[in-house]
């Protein structure tokens, strides 16, 4: 077997800066919103088009992802009066966001279309539950699935737990350190009027919530919500004529994986995740390093997933993720805030979209918190991060998203201010 860590997967640098995110939009993050995935997708896309200053005639590409729990692009485009030159509906959940942004860049580069709307629409609470409960948990167990589902090894938390456990074993990571991820993200969510959970939590509250699947307490797990989200990608050249300051894509990584992704636990160390490989594409292609990043968004399906990724992408030394997430660095007002919207643990569950949307707004200095709006129509950010206050980070130049599918697969993206 080739030693895959030695393969240079970084590509030519000619696309760095050539593409941008020009529009973002979402529905409310809710439970029991009472809308179809079709209706939510159209709302999110319409909001993103309005944000960008684009009309139906300007959008000619569409990408979506789902686990069979959404509505295809064909119906959604029809609703919006969009004639498509390209569309594709992809199977997948977490880590799809950045991967599809990369695909959008590729199809535009290939001359297949000019502007792509990427959407994810899901009733993750009221229809197909993201925790894997309901009909999916009772489905017959077939073929390769017997090696996991027959053992009650099915939900995301159950599947990932051996990695989390092994990290504690290998490095002495403590439950108190990991709980700080929830504490910090809940602080951020308390300054986010859109967040489903706005309450601030303490370490004790996390550790005294009931155990779901060791080492995960209830409050180590993300929220299940119903929502639609959209991100619009086009060339940076076109972006200059649009309504908002573009978030320029410096580099992107899509579903980069560890060896043996058929069952990644066969290749260790299992306390190392896909970011270990992804960082070798992400940073060289951007011409930047972890020290250049002002704001991170490390996918928080669970507290552990944020910590493991921050560590393996090199924001701290290997094994020191527990110290990093409990040091205050990741807080608003800290050196490098993480998931300033509250992320999946608190704002809403979108399979990664809301974390990209948040970083686009951070780069625009247009975070939608409760700060007053001035006479110029712009929010007057106070940078006072107390509960109910500001969420905008000062002088954001560079952001980093780290998407997660499972310990073995991840995606990532670096954006810079336009």
């Amino acid at each position: 077997m080739a030693n895959q860590s030695d393969i240079d997967a970084s590509s030519g640098k000619h696309l760095a800066g050539k593409y941008s995110i020009v529009g973002v939009g979402e529905t409310t993050y809710t439970r029991g919103g009472g809308r179809t995935t079709r209706a939510m997708a159209t709302t999110a896309i319409a909001n993103a088009m309005a944000d960008a200053g684009l009309t139906a005639d300007d959008v000619d590409g569409m990408l979506s992802y789902s686990g069979g729990d959404s509505t295809p692009s064909t119906f959604v485009a029809g609703d919006l009066g969009i004639r498509l030159n390209f569309y594709m509906d992809v199977f997948g959940g977490g880590s799809s966001t950045e991967a599809l942004i990369g695909i959008a860049m590729g199809v535009i580069e290939a001359g297949m279309c000019k502007t792509v709307a990427i959407f994810r629409s899901m009733n993750g609470y009221s229809q197909v539950r993201i925790g894997g409960t309901g009909a999916r948990s009772a489905a017959p167990v077939k073929g390769d699935e017997i090696h996991n589902r027959a053992y009650g090894w099915q939900s995301a938390g159950q599947m990932f737990a051996p990695s989390f456990m092994r990290h504690m074993y290998d490095y002495g990571t403590t439950p108190e350190q990991v709980a700080m991820v929830k504490v910090v993200h809940s602080e951020h969510a308390s300054n986010n009027p859109k967040a489903y959970y706005k309450k601030r939590f303490t370490v004790d509250e996390v550790l005294s919530s009931r155990i779901i699947c060791k080492p995960l307490h209830l409050l180590d797990c993300c929220v299940e919500t119903d929502n639609g989200t959209c991100i619009i990608v086009t060339t940076t050249e076109r972006a200059r004529d649009l309504a908002k300051r573009p978030a320029i894509i410096q580099s992107v990584v899509g579903r980069c994986s560890k060896p043996r992704i058929d069952m990644h636990y066969q290749h260790g160390p299992i306390s190392t995740v896909a970011g270990h490989y992804a960082k070798n594409i992400l940073f060289p292609n951007a011409g930047l390093g972890p020290e250049d990043i002002d704001v991170t968004a490390a996918y928080d399906a669970f507290t552990f997933t944020s910590m493991l990724q921050l560590e393996d992408y090199g924001f701290c030394k290997k094994g020191e993720g527990g110290q990093y997430v409990s040091s205050g660095i990741t807080r608003l007002g800290g050196k490098r805030p993480n998931n300033t919207s509250g992320g999946h643990l608190c704002e809403g569950y979108t399979h990664g979209m809301n974390m990209v949307i948040e970083n686009v707004r951070q780069l625009r200095a247009e975070i939608d918190d409760s700060c007053p709006i001035g006479p110029d129509g712009k929010r007057q950010h106070t940078y006072d991060y107390r509960e109910g206050g500001c969420r905008q980070v000062k002088d954001v130049e560079v952001t980093c998203n780290m998407g997660w599918a499972n310990p073995g697969t991840g995606s990532a993206m670096i954006m810079v201010k336009g």
């Binding site: 409960t133 074993y169 060791k214």
Partner: protein
């Protein structure tokens, strides 16, 4: 060759007849014989069943018996079951047991880490007091749970004849 059908704690299990690798794997288990595919090119075992060798890419293999013993490499311990079959069975453990065979081969990071629940020696889901004894480092032996005609699942129980660690590593909170 025909496929396999079975039932485990109320779960319907099936392997399609085209899935010859899984049919063979679970079929050997039903005979109490733990076999893995051994590549004819490099002599390496692999788990779970695959159509080609992950280390050589070769499609040529034979099924060879492997000593069904090893050490707990990592685990999860489920307290809130989501599958109906596992409600009322909590807490239950999913163990990844690293076999003694081929440990640290072909690279120091590789090993045959075989999944299974912690069960009693007769193959029933372990009671809570048994769950509390097991952690990373525990020595385990395989038992087979018959789930259908010619169809059994590999499971793990405590290896009573092995030297056990004084205190296997367990998650801090009981």
């Amino acid at each position: 060759m025909t496929g396999l059908t079975g039932n485990h704690m109320g779960m319907s299990l099936s392997v399609d007849d085209l899935d010859i690798e899984n049919v063979a794997f679970f079929g050997y288990c039903a005979k109490g014989d733990f076999r893995l595919q051994k590549c004819k090119e490099n002599g390496l075992f692999r788990y779970p069943p695959t159509t080609r060798c992950p280390f050589s890419g070769s499609a040529n293999y034979e099924w060879v018996s492997v000593a069904p013993k090893g050490t707990v490499y990592s685990y999860n311990e489920v307290h809130h079951a989501i599958q109906p079959a596992f409600k009322g069975k909590t807490p239950y453990m999913l163990l990844l047991v690293e076999l003694d065979t081929q440990k640290g081969q072909p690279t120091e990071h590789d090993g045959l880490r075989v999944a299974g629940n912690l069960v009693t020696p007769d193959g029933e889901m372990a009671p809570p007091e048994m769950v509390k004894k097991i952690g990373i480092g525990s020595r385990m032996r395989m038992v087979f749970k018959q789930v259908g005609d010619g169809f059994a699942l590999p499971m793990w129980t405590i290896d009573e004849n092995a030297k056990q660690p004084d205190k296997p590593w367990r998650y801090a909170q009981e």
